[in-house]
């Protein structure tokens, strides 16, 4: 290539700048981050507890305090206050204008059953009942379950990702770096391990124990760590013979230090490129397990469980459509991010010909 074309090129950019230029991926990333952030504060937006209650001149913050009984607000019962009813009651009875209830955007929680006399669940979407996406077959709000289900799914996927990558990357790097017997041994282990039918194992495990969030992460990581090892093995195999690694070796750096300080940072692009696809994999895996009822125990809000309900109740289309649209949308965002990242780290953009 001629020198002039090199001069004409822009200053080399950092990956973040490059990523920002890829609008579709960048905005997907911003949007997904916003979604995750919102879901972290879901209790403030989607909750059966009131945000704020003023009763006889005193202020209460039900979401932030322990359970407030009905008696607290002059009602007859001594279990948790039904704030929707309270609001209605005070709206009808205008004797004390200072009393008020400030409800969250959607005044239901994820496990609450809202059954109305004369109507049988599932109920179609309605702004009047504030079930904006309707209710499921037990009378729980679909929107609220979607939100809390999203939070569980995305954090599940991220946790799974961290655990899988930690072991996968470490073992893969050591395989490539050390080579020899260690490499051969793990190659065979991985080959055998990847031939165990993962789904059956999960089914058997979750029929023996009632799975929880962490036990599911554990089971899935147990069978998911292998995928990263091959990539990291070849990456570190390549890096191990580079001069900087040899230099580090000569200076007496330990194997662990070489891998941690030199090899991983230099092959980070491989790891980052795979992250979005692993997240998508994690979400779909949890959804699939919940769909087959081998996932999180009821009444945990879950997309898979909603999907199951939707398939069983096709005549209540709001259930299936809500969950299918949400799932496709989130997976689409993740895929756009993934594409953009791949583009950023695409070696074709980096190579300078001489």
């Amino acid at each position: 290539m001629h020198a002039s074309s090199i001069q004409g090129q822009e200053r080399p950019q950092g990956p973040w700048q490059k990523f920002k230029r890829l609008k579709r991926g960048y905005f997907s990333f911003i949007f997904l981050c916003l979604l995750i952030l919102t879901s972290c504060f879901a209790e403030l937006l989607f909750n059966s507890k009131a945000l704020l209650v003023q009763y006889q001149g005193e202020l209460y913050w039900p979401i932030f305090s322990s359970t407030l009984e009905g008696k607290q607000f002059g009602l007859e019962y001594d279990y948790e206050t039904n704030y929707r009813q309270l609001k209605k009651l005070w709206a009808e009875d205008n004797s004390d204008h200072s009393n008020f209830v400030l409800l969250p955007l959607v005044p239901f929680n994820a496990t609450e059953v809202d059954l109305e006399e004369g109507f049988y669940p599932p109920q179609p979407p309605s702004t009047l009942s504030q079930h904006y996406l309707g209710t499921d077959t037990i009378g729980r709000d679909v929107l609220v379950r979607l939100v809390y289900g999203f939070r569980i799914a995305i954090f599940f996927a991220l946790t799974l990702l961290i655990v899988e990558y930690f072991f996968g990357v470490l073992i893969g790097c050591f395989m490539g770096f050390l080579g020899g017997a260690f490499d051969l041994f793990f190659q065979r282990i991985i080959e055998i391990w990847s031939n165990i039918p993962f789904l059956y194992i999960v089914m058997i495990m979750s029929s023996l124990i009632t799975p929880g969030f962490w036990s599911l992460v554990f089971i899935m990581a147990l069978f998911g760590w292998m995928s990263m090892t091959w990539y990291m093995r070849s990456a570190s195999y390549k890096e191990a013979n580079r001069d900087y690694v040899l230099a580090a070796k000569m200076m007496g750096a330990s194997n662990f230090r070489i891998i941690y300080k030199h090899i991983i940072p230099n092959s980070i692009s491989t790891i980052i490129t795979f992250i979005p696809f692993s997240v998508a994999g994690g979400i779909t895996a949890l959804t699939a397990l919940d769909f087959l009822s081998f996932g999180l125990p009821a009444p945990a809000p879950s997309w898979g469980e909603l999907l199951r309900q939707g398939v069983d109740n096709l005549d209540s289309p709001w259930i299936i459509s809500s969950v299918v649209i949400s799932l496709s949308f989130v997976l689409m965002l993740v895929t756009f991010i993934g594409e953009a990242i791949r583009e950023v780290f695409d070696p074709k953009h980096k190579i300078y010909y001489e």
């Binding site: 322990s66 359970t67 948790e80 609450e112 059953v113 037990i138 009378g139 029929s207 009632t210 009821a298």
Partner: protein, 603 residues
Amino acid sequence: MIKNIIRKLAFIPLLILSVEFVVAATLPNDITWLTNTSSPEWSSTEAQKGGLLRLNISSFPPTLRTVGPDSNNSFRSFLLDNQMPLVDMHPNSGEVIPMLASHWAYDKDGKTVYYKIKKNARWSDGLPVTADDFLFALAFNRSKDIVAPWYNKHFSEEITEVVKFDSHTLAIVGARIKPKKDLHYYYSLQPRAKHFHKLNQQWVSAFNWKIEPNTGPYKISKIRKGKSINFKRKLDWWAQDEQFLRNRFNVDNVLIKVVRDPNTAFKYFERGELDVFNLTLPKLWHEKANGPMFQKGFIHKLSFYNQVEQGASGLFLNLENQLLQDVNVRKAIAHGLNFDKIIQQLLRNDYQRLPRFHTGYGKYSNDKVSPLGFDLKQAGALLDAAGWNNKDQRGIRVKDKNRLSFAISYGNKLHEPQIIVLAEEAKKAGIELKPQYLESTSFYKNVIEKKHDIAWLGWSTGFRPAYWQHFHSDNAHKPQTNNVTNLSDANIDRLINQYRESTKEQERIMLAQKLESKIAAQVVFIPSTMVPFTRVGFWRWLKLPESIATKSSQSLFNPFHSTQGGLFWIDAKSKIDSLSAKRSGKGFKASTIINSDYKVTAP
């Protein structure tokens, strides 16, 4: 030569020993032969023979054997119903009626029944049914070759022996004394065709797909593996003119199709490819079964109240849990369960609250026992009295650092909505119930090993109330027994022993009633719901007798059962009319019948 003779002679004593000297037993003189020709029949004389009935099952049976591995599948009842019992109970009055046996008599020892087999009784291959088939049936059920431990145990421990007097007379001797009528039930034995079976270690695999000779009205005529099984009516059935069996079993063919998905099966039914569909589920009856075929009167809907033993389903509280040992806590839980809400708002008021452990057992049921209702005040007062005065941040009661929290395990996803609603409501009483779904096999294991806190399950029914297995201390705190609450109460034990030993019907009834109230007072079992009816949709060419069905009918279109089955028939003319009307887009009057003849109103 001589050696040879000696050798042969040496075998003679052995041969003599090995020949069985069958000395025919003699009948005692002091027995009275009984029969029943006076009870009314329940079939319709208007019934016509002919036609095809199409039913569905959800999976193809893994075997055609009725015992041994994989035999306990949903198809088995079609086979078993085609094996006639010796005698049966009249479906309306409960009197003993003849089936394979024409006469029966009771021995004064209180555990032996004599039977005379009808001379015309025939297997489907034309050979007569004899006492030998019953002797063989006992040996068969005790044989290790059938790989059925439960059968081995039952027929070894419950039935002492079968005695043959002549080719058509026999006695069945039970292990324990029972009231006369109960003997028929507890010591019943269905014959097995001796000439057909070859018992050896290969029996299980060799007889997997063999069509066993039967004594009932139909036999299998065609099998399409994985797809369907066709039963054909025996045109020369030996019992077709017998009392209690005539004018029944009318359709010529019964085709049982495999349709895996219930939603698909319903579509098949609406298209007219199935004749009958069970509509017991509220969603089916109220919502799905309202399509054009229903509105145009092609498919009729029928709800029929029956009076059958209700399975004891509900919550079983395990007394091995420290917190549940306090009866006040158990009562509080019972008061904290809002079954009314479930029945009214999830089950559309179709189901009823199950009143007690034993329901529908006639005089044996204690109608005065009813469950504790939803009452938060009562629950609160009981918990206060038990020392659960404080509440934690989430509003759950606490005492000495213990939270009032229990896992409620269940093994069937169908029940999940009910459990979730109950758990939500129980929070109001300060009780936390954590739903714990376990896959059905591990759920069963969990419960039978008594590792649960509270289990949501249902027991199948029996002929008479059974207390010992569920509530006697003999079975408490031991794995693999049916006392899943671990109740052990000396007073209840004493009554159960009396109930088991008593042979007088009146005394047993009195004891059963007493036991029922004593057990209910312990609140170890909290009854859930029952379905006191059966509901179906059926194409209009299917006809039923005027009385529709019997008091004990659990299915209106059962094709084979010896007392409840085969009451319907197909009106050939109506079928032709209906099909041509369907083609031309015409319709008939819609029909929904609710028959409450046998409805029990709450006392």
